[in-house]
């Protein structure tokens, strides 16, 4: 479904993404793990069209993705950016409606709103509350729900567990699994490597702009290098 082929991205002279190729198949959860500054957000923003790649190709459902973000969203690729970026002075409901900005089908938008409330019951109680007054976990739920309101085929989540307590992290990941089960493909980046890898169908490790390892979530999780670098587990000296 999503195919990134040999993509390079520069910030001026900084070569942030180097020959990265990744793939996400239908109804999978695909993760990218990597340290701070590895280029995870850069890769996501490039796929979403916010940043321009200098070479390589990105295709979706067999077609090359257009260059501008709003056209990419119209194709069904939606990014929930790092730090959520909700409209703090709009209510939960208004934020959800903003997510459906490109859609014209009013009745279906209302239905989807109800569906978001069954997926995220906490949002129903906070319906009229300003997004800026929600807790971190609630904000993350709202950010994901807002992304889903555009009815994406591929939902990209940049660090969905950022700044959340361990219990909330689990809740967010459970929801992500639910979303996948509804048939939406998920492509996410995470610092919380162990939790993310546990639910991933496929995973990539990104290091200073390069993919250094890939495999099923389980394989990557069990890789000794990954355990040492991202999970803080020391190998027994034997």
């Amino acid at each position: 479904m999503l195919k990134v082929d040999n993509v390079n991205v520069f910030y001026g002279h900084i070569h942030a993404i180097r020959d990265v190729s990744i793939e996400a198949k239908d109804s999978q959860i695909v993760s990218i793990v990597g340290a701070n500054g590895a280029g995870k957000s850069t890769l996501m923003m490039t796929i979403a069209g916010v940043l321009k790649k200098s070479s390589g190709s990105i295709s979706f459902d067999g077609e090359l993705l257009p260059a501008e973000p709003h056209k990419i969203l119209a194709k069904g690729v939606c990014l929930v950016p790092e730090r959520r970026r909700l409209y703090a002075n709009l209510t939960v409901r208004e934020n959800l409606l903003a997510g459906a900005y490109l859609r014209k089908d009013k009745a279906a938008i209302q239905e989807d709103m109800e569906e978001m409330f069954s997926l995220f019951p906490i949002l129903k109680q906070r319906f009229k509350q300003y997004a800026g007054t929600l807790s971190g976990g609630e904000q993350q739920m709202l950010a994901i729900a807002r992304g889903l309101m555009s009815r994406p085929k591929l939902l990209m989540l940049d660090e969905p567990s950022l700044g959340l307590a361990p219990m909330l992290v689990q809740q967010v990941f459970d929801t992500i699994c639910n979303v996948r089960d509804r048939g939406t493909t998920i492509f996410m980046t995470e610092q919380n490597a162990s939790d993310a890898l546990a639910i991933s169908d496929y995973a990539y490790v990104l290091e200073t702009g390069r993919i250094t390892l890939s495999g099923s979530g389980k394989e990557v999780l069990e890789n000794p290098e990954v355990q040492k670098a991202y999970l803080g587990i020391k190998q027994e000296q034997s």
């Binding site: 979403a48 916010v50 501008e68 973000p69 709003h70 969203l73 119209a74 939606c78 990014l79 929930v80 950016p81 970026r85 909700l86 409209y87 002075n89 903003a98 997510g99 900005y101 490109l102 807002r146 992304g147 555009s150």
Partner: protein, 298 residues
């Protein structure tokens, strides 16, 4: 006396028209332009040349002056907004643009160079300036409360989020720039036909800065604020005339005071409209019955 007040009011209202345009671009879309005097100049010159050399209808000339400014704004806006220049870089680009336009006007034959155009017919009267200001204020309010206005605010609040929602940053910003340039152009046309003489040195970056100051001091995200602020800014030099040499100091002091006391601007994110007045009256009414009750208890 009335003549004197009328004169000040006319010039103040003409400035208000240009500020209304900048309000849409800066106050609602969140982009800073330091070259709006250029759009005023383009409107002024276009309209004046049309009426004095081609004997065109005044209102047609005003409209064409506005459109000419709008057209030029597309030329400067297309490359800069397409490249998604950051706010400060964009402001610098418009600053350069403003100066460039002034230099071009100084060197063209049709504008009579630095000596300027004289004998522009006196077509701007208090009445038509007032009517045009009212009309353009209503149009600006409609723009701001339309889909376009909401898109603008979404971008001002968070342009990445807006882009992720599917808003096309480029078209929304360019549309706001175009609107603001047309308004500035119309203001310029009115100005030229009021003072009957224009020259390039009248349209400097100082004027652009005053416009921005009015928007910021009046309040971002408000039409009322910049409107009121521009009226004050225009009238202030006259009121302070008695203070003579302290005039400019007082002017700066007032600006600083506004920013210290009300950092969000006089009317930041608020409007003085029927809804506001209604709520205000309700508030006063709600307070009144409470007073006798208190008195009764005591």
């Amino acid at each position: 006396m009335w003549n004197y007040i009328e004169g000040i009011l006319c010039l103040a209202l003409i400035s208000v028209i240009s500020v209304l345009g900048l309000t849409v671009f800066t106050g609602f879309t969140g982009m800073f332009s330091m070259g709006h005097a250029a759009f005023i100049a383009i409107g002024a010159y276009t309209a004046s040349i049309l009426t004095s050399k081609a004997h065109a209808n005044f209102y047609l000339a005003l409209a064409l002056g506005g459109l000419m400014s709008g057209f030029v704004s597309l030329i400067i806006g297309y490359p800069t907004l397409r490249a998604k220049l950051q706010n400060d870089y964009f402001a610098i680009a418009t600053l350069g643009f403003g100066e460039a336009v002034r230099v071009i006007l100084e060197n063209l034959k049709i504008t009579n160079g630095a000596r300027g155009l004289v004998g522009i017919p006196a077509r701007s009267t208090f009445l038509n300036i007032l009517l045009i200001t009212v009309l353009l204020t209503i149009i600006t309010a409609h723009y701001v409360y339309s889909k376009y206005g909401r898109q603008s605010v979404a971008i001002r609040e968070d342009h990445v989020a807006a882009e992720m929602m599917g808003i096309n940053l480029f078209t929304v910003r360019l549309r706001a720039l175009f609107f603001s340039a047309v308004m500035a152009g119309i203001g310029g046309g009115l100005y030229a036909h009021y003072v009957n003489f224009i020259q390039p040195s009248m349209f400097t970056s100082t004027q652009s800065t005053t416009l921005i100051a009015a928007v910021v001091a009046g309040g971002m995200g408000s039409i009322t604020g910049p409107f009121v602020a521009m009226l004050i800014f225009s009238a202030l030099p006259e009121i302070l005339r008695v203070a003579d040499m302290w005039r400019l100091v007082a002017y700066g002091l007032i600006l600083v005071l506004i920013m210290v006391l009300r950092p969000q601007g006089i009317f930041g994110y608020k409007e003085l409209n029927f809804k506001f007045v209604k709520r205000w009256i309700k508030k006063i009414r709600a307070k009144k019955p409470a007073l006798p009750a208190e008195g009764g208890d005591a």
